[in-house]
């Protein structure tokens, strides 16, 4: 990318091994800046849940014959198992298999932080609990406080995205998105929704919060997809 030479600017080059990990236009930080559009939500864990909704359904299915054998009195309970969502409480969510992730993250406000360490549940694990409609190609992540962000479904599978609840071996701080946030390291960090409460599966792409306010619909830092039209 050509640019006007800035008279007298030499720049602060970094070792090649660091430079090669910085997407274009980014600079290295060692602290962890906080960026939020409004107050930090503080949802008590007993009120927290994680929901998968939209073009998904619970994988639990019955044949008609099996269905006929279900005891009448549990019918209303069981019918809820075939509704179009799956929900975990905080306690249930904590029982899901977790993994540790060490990833580089890049914020559209220009900072990049290398080797951040998280503990969380992959979206692949969450997807095992539901059947995704083949028509679903996009996901809207939604959060406490009303924040939303959109992502392509095929960029959330195979370990590309996870819901994290620990950072640096400690519970994730509220200002950084605790109790749980989405982490999608290969996209700008606004896609890693703080205070996440669920995923909605959609047929067509729709803009989330920042995507409706001039930021790029996709947000790949290596292509410098910062703003609408980049």
């Amino acid at each position: 990318m050509a640019g006007l030479i800035s008279r007298g600017f030499l720049g602060r080059r970094r070792p090649a091994e660091v430079e090669s990990r910085l997407p274009p236009g980014q600079y290295l930080v060692t602290d962890f800046p906080v960026l939020s559009a409004g107050p930090t939500p503080h949802t008590p864990l007993d009120k927290w849940s994680f929901t998968m909704e939209g073009l998904v359904r619970s994988p639990k299915t019955w044949s008609w014959a099996e269905f006929q054998k279900l005891p009448t009195e549990t019918f209303t309970v069981d019918i809820s198992c075939v509704t179009k969502w799956t929900k975990w409480s905080w306690a249930e969510f904590q029982k899901l298999p977790t993994e540790t992730f060490t990833v580089d993250i890049s914020c559209v406000t220009k900072w990049t932080k290398l080797d951040t360490k998280w503990l969380g549940v992959t979206v692949d694990t969450l997807l095992q609990a539901v059947q995704v409609d083949p028509a679903a190609h996009y996901v809207m992540a939604f959060s406490d406080g009303g924040y939303t962000t959109n992502l392509p479904l095929d960029e959330m599978v195979q370990g590309q995205a996870f819901v994290a609840f620990q950072f640096d071996d400690k519970p994730l701080a509220p200002e950084h998105g605790g109790p749980a946030r989405l982490v999608v390291p290969h996209l700008y960090f606004w896609k890693s929704a703080k205070w996440i409460r669920g995923l909605r599966f959609m047929e067509r792409d729709q803009p989330g919060f920042w995507e409706s306010l001039g930021y790029h619909i996709h947000g790949d830092p290596w292509k410098e997809e910062r703003y609408s039209g980049d």
Partner: protein, 262 residues
């Protein structure tokens, strides 16, 4: 909403004004100027001369200080970060006549314009006052009359950016009011000093707390539209306090900067 594609353009530095020991305001004339919304920012890009095909580049975002009524121009107020890369260049190297690559305006949430109305409460910590100043300048340029208050926290008197202009904006000038045919409703500006207040200071001299917020927000009560910008710790504490005071969260818009932003 249809979004314009933002392209880099070379602005010409027409003026550099020191505001405090650590902050300067840079006025740029832009060939492809477009009106911004107060609260928005611009990206600045620096390119080093190199023999390699891809020159070293780095970018930062800086809040717009000027009102959109200043057509063709843009003013950015930048704090010099001691170990920074871009802000020391802007402070120490850039001179009027130089060119600077920018693109914007950017950001669509931390914005206020007269049509959004009030009552308006602007809360600033340190150089977080910059985007709020764009709002106050816009309000003055439009001769708007919605009730407006600013609470501005600084370490010392020497750290206050735009002090003279804020005092002038807030001054109740009866002659001015009579001479012109509109009713002037000056904003009220409250300062607090967390380290060293000026000699003889009788106002606030502590970090912003619930009692201070209660006093400043009182005439607006829960109708206040709040724009809050400053260091992360201040923004976090003030926003949490406002939520505890039962101000609706959708009326609280925040912009934060940490030790980064160099």
């Amino acid at each position: 909403m249809e979004q314009p594609v933002l392209q880099w353009q070379a602005g010409t530095v027409t003026a550099i004004r020191p505001e405090t020991l650590k902050t300067k305001s840079f006025t740029l004339a832009l060939p492809k100027w477009m009106a911004h919304r107060p609260g928005q920012h611009y990206d600045v890009r620096l390119t080093a001369p190199v023999t390699a095909p891809d020159g070293y580049q780095t970018q930062r975002s800086y809040s717009i200080a000027s009102a959109p009524e200043r057509m063709g121009e843009l003013e950015l107020t930048v704090e010099r970060i001691e170990d920074g890369e871009v802000s020391p260049y802007l402070h120490d190297v850039l001179v009027p006549g130089d060119q600077l690559e920018v693109r914007g305006p950017i950001g669509g949430y931390f914005v206020w314009e007269v049509s959004l109305g009030g009552p308006l409460l602007l809360i600033a910590g340190g150089s977080g006052v910059v985007p709020l100043m764009a709002m106050l300048r816009h309000r003055a340029a439009q001769h708007a009359t919605m009730p407006t208050r600013m609470l501005y926290s600084s370490r010392t008197a020497d750290d206050v950016i735009y002090r003279d202009e804020l005092d002038a904006l807030a001054a109740s000038d009866r002659t001015f009011e009579v001479f012109f045919s509109f009713t002037r409703q000056p904003p009220e500006v409250f300062f607090t000093f967390t380290r060293q207040p000026p000699t003889g200071w009788t106002g606030y001299r502590r970090r912003i707390d619930a009692a201070m917020l209660g006093e400043v927000i009182k005439p607006f009560d829960k109708r206040a539209r709040v724009y809050l910008c400053g260091p992360t710790l201040l923004v976090e504490a003030v926003a949490n306090t406002l939520v505890q005071m039962e101000l609706p969260t959708e009326q609280i818009r925040t912009e934060r900067f940490g030790p980064s932003g160099a």
